[in-house]
């Protein structure tokens, strides 16, 4: 790294120099360029420039500009070097002047490579894309957001990632020193504490006052984000620090990122759990997010096969193969009811696993487990709580709580179980596993029968859509990058998921506007691996974030988007109808559509996509047309571009 001999130059000095130069060169300008706040009234009316002004703007300055100072070693270059050391492949952002120093350094100093700037059209999309990216790649993408307004835009997606326990590394541009702010807009976009808006749902944040501080906090933040429970962190990047000269004495040292170990359960608790698992007659494992990495999936398979435990996958990650004989997800209620031991691995709502809540006006919880059933939880969520947002769910009185990362705990648990297995227990486990395998086969047959209903219906049934899509991708290296909850989870029920990257779960905070950008972020991660990314995209969600279509086209992100277009915020139709009936007045469906339909006019998603450079076709309402359309889409996507197919579907 070349070191400048120029004296350190603060942003204020640079601005004054620039202002003086500008004033000298454009002396006829009515509104003088100044470091001082401008008179805001001058911006309220757009006045055409005078001839003198036009001449001044276009003329070459005749007088040598004095007092110009060049920043040879901007702080942002150091920041970018820190980013490179942390291995960020991408910077997801909507551009904003509060991080323009970083933006420029990413391009000129960093060569727009590791990280590469990916342009999003809303900060919510930037963060949601980072959420999807992290769940495929296992590490955060870098996100930059523009001061107060950028962070406010990003907020819901940050909350989703926080609830989803997905790491994200967010930079908030800010100009902390009031004397450095140019005019009213920079005041509006600056904050005394820019992280405050999202502090309730980030794991950690800092506001570095020097480059040394920035480097240390960046590495610390990365470590915090990547330690279970993995979550978003935020660093404020001061504009003065970015754009000004690095201090002469600054040594440009980048702190070392250590190999990050994950917190495992204590050995005594693990040993006790192993005894319980071996002794149990009907152990059941419930998981939500235990496969933090691909290794987590393999470990869970090993534990399940070793203990003959049925597995219920709540599928917030790809935790367990969908067609594994021990997978009992399709008969979860019966499996839980029959259990004498339930081991929860990173379960986000243990209370909900063992209770029904009713569904009428009042919540009336009812236990569905047998008396005496033992409950054990291994969860990194127990290592980190915040107070305000209630994402931690209702308290369940488990017998053993092991506050630890499940994936990191499984190796010791597996070894402990192995040591305890006798021939008698192995025989009992084999017998149990055979019964579970039979139940699994029966459940699959029942699922296929259920999928056959309304097979030829128009609008297209969501089961048919899922089956048609599966037929075309099953022989490819595919990855489902959307949450199929909205299509009755048919893909998870019908498809053969075996690999960690084949599914990424849904929005942790259930905030709509996640799906489209998260799918794109996951597709960005899949791109270098040559995987076929497919998304079943809800219409309401896309309309909250449809700028991602342009991002997909602009950056050539291969992603097949198949619309689940039921022309409604359909969940809310059901909610409205429920309330109307509870109030004993019912509601005609036409009234139910007030405030809930996305129709009249119908949105032309094909035209929408094409307007942003994405090839598209549809709407398709005859299921017989799906196969050929999907094949056309896959051809385009395998050629490296996005493709959208609009399908008019049954509600769920």
């Amino acid at each position: 790294m070349a070191k400048s001999q120029t004296p350190p130059l603060a942003r204020r000095g640079f601005l004054k120099g620039a202002a003086a130069g500008a004033a000298a060169g454009a002396a006829a300008l009515v509104a003088p360029v100044s470091a001082e706040p401008q008179d805001t009234t001058q911006r309220t009316v757009a006045v055409p420039p005078t001839a003198a002004q036009r001449a001044a703007e276009n003329a070459t300055p005749a007088v040598a500009i004095e007092n110009i100072q060049i920043v040879e070693r901007p702080g942002a270059d150091y920041m970018v070097d820190v980013f490179k050391s942390l291995g960020f492949e991408y910077l997801f952002a909507t551009p904003g002047s509060s991080f323009r120093g970083i933006h420029e350094s990413v391009i000129n100093h960093g060569g727009n490579h590791d990280p590469e700037f990916i342009t999003f059209m809303h900060e919510e999309c930037s963060v949601a894309a980072a959420n999807g990216y992290a769940k495929i790649e296992g590490k955060p993408a870098l996100v930059c957001a523009h001061g107060t307004v950028g962070i406010q835009h990003a907020a819901m997606a940050i909350y989703n990632a926080y609830c989803d326990q997905a790491p994200a590394f967010i930079i908030a541009g800010n100009i902390a020193d009031a004397a450095e702010r140019r005019g009213r807009v920079e005041w509006l976009h600056a904050a005394q504490d820019v992280a405050a808006t999202v502090r309730d749902y980030t794991k950690w944040d800092d506001n570095p006052g020097s480059l040394t501080h920035f480097g240390e906090s960046a590495v610390r933040g990365y470590q915090v984000a990547m330690t279970a429970p993995t979550m978003p962190v935020l660093l404020a990047a001061d504009g003065v620090l970015q754009e000004g000269e690095a201090p002469k004495e600054f040594d440009w040292r980048i702190p070392k990122l250590p190999k990050i170990s994950q917190p495992a359960g204590d050995s005594a608790a693990v040993a006790e759990l192993a005894q319980m698992l071996v002794a149990a007659e009907n152990p059941v494992i419930v998981t939500s997010r235990s496969a933090r990495t691909p290794a987590g999936l393999k470990l869970l398979v090993e534990l399940a096969e070793l203990t003959g435990a049925g597995v219920i996958d709540q599928q917030r990650r790809m935790n367990f193969p969908t067609r594994h004989p021990l997978n009992q997800t399709q008969r979860s209620r019966a499996t839980v009811a029959n259990a004498d031991l339930i081991l929860g691995l990173e379960v986000y709502d243990f209370f909900g696993v063992v209770h029904t809540l009713g569904g009428q006006v009042n919540v009336v919880p009812r236990s569905i487990i047998k008396p005496g059933t033992k409950l054990v939880s291994i969860s990194s969520s127990d290592l980190f709580y915040k107070s305000n947002y209630q994402n931690f769910q209702r308290f369940e009185d488990v017998d053993i709580s092991i506050p630890a990362d499940a994936e990191a705990t499984l190796p010791a648990l597996i070894e402990a179980v192995k040591r305890l297995l006798t021939d008698d227990r192995k025989q009992a486990i084999q017998t149990r596993a055979a019964k579970l395998a039979q139940a699994n086969r029966q459940a699959l047959e029942q699922t296929r029968t259920a999928a056959s209903y309304a097979w030829d219906a128009s609008p297209v049934s969501t089961a048919r859509l899922s089956a048609e899509l599966w037929a075309q991708i099953k022989d490819q290296d595919w990855s489902l990058v959307s949450d199929p909850f909205w299509v009755s989870n048919w893909p998870l029920r019908l498809w053969d998921f075996t690999k960690h990257y084949q599914f990424i779960g849904g929005a942790g905070g259930e905030g709509v506007g996640y799906l489209a950008p998260a799918a794109l972020g996951a597709a960005i991660a899949n791109k270098k691996h040559g995987r076929l990314s497919v998304s079943i995209q809800s219409d309401g969600d896309l309309m909250m974030a449809n700028g991602v279509l342009w991002t997909a086209a602009h950056h050539r992100i291969p992603l097949l988007t198949v619309m689940h277009n039921n022309r409604a915020y359909h969940q809310e139709i059901m909610q409205l109808q429920r309330v109307a009936n509870q109030h004993n007045r019912g509601v005609d469906i036409d009234k139910c559509r007030i405030g809930t339909e996305i129709a009249n006019p119908n949105i032309d998603y094909t035209m929408l996509a094409k307007s942003m450079g994405v090839q598209a076709e549809g709407p398709i309402s005859d299921p017989r047309d799906l196969s050929a359309a999907i094949q056309r889409g896959i051809r385009v996507v395998k050629g490296g571009d996005p493709y959208l197919i609009d399908v008019i579907t049954q509600p769920r």
Binding site: S452, Y453, A471, L494, R652
Partner: protein, 111 residues
């Protein structure tokens, strides 16, 4: 022989239709108007939000009884909201929905 077979089928079909006293067309309209389709699908196929209702629906008596006092998250439909007669028509519509081919005969569901 073939003619005889067809006649037998027609008689059997007529008797099946006759077992459902409601009006199929009105039942189809009401199935949408009442919002049944929102959870159960336009053909009563069911899914993540509602149970399968067709083909082979439950009897009119059982349907009316369940709709008045449902379990789970389904809201109750009182007589003020929907009459027994309309529910009879809805059941007739559900009974008119033909069964799909067996899943084992649908190639896309066997892969």
């Amino acid at each position: 022989m073939i003619r005889y077979f067809i006649i037998v089928i027609l008689i059997a079909s007529s008797s099946l239709v006759a077992q459902s006293p409601g009006n199929v067309e009105n039942g189809k309209r009401q199935f949408v108007k009442l919002g049944c389709y929102t959870c159960h699908g336009y053909q009563g196929q069911g899914g993540g939000a509602g149970a399968k209702l067709a083909p082979h629906p439950i009897s009119v008596t059982n349907l009316i009884a369940y709709v008045r006092r449902p379990a789970g998250s389904m809201p109750p439909f009182t007589k003020k909201v929907v009459s027994d007669e309309v529910l009879t028509d809805v059941q007739a519509y559900l009974a008119s929905i033909p069964a799909p081919p067996p899943a084992k005969d649908i190639p896309l569901l066997n892969q």
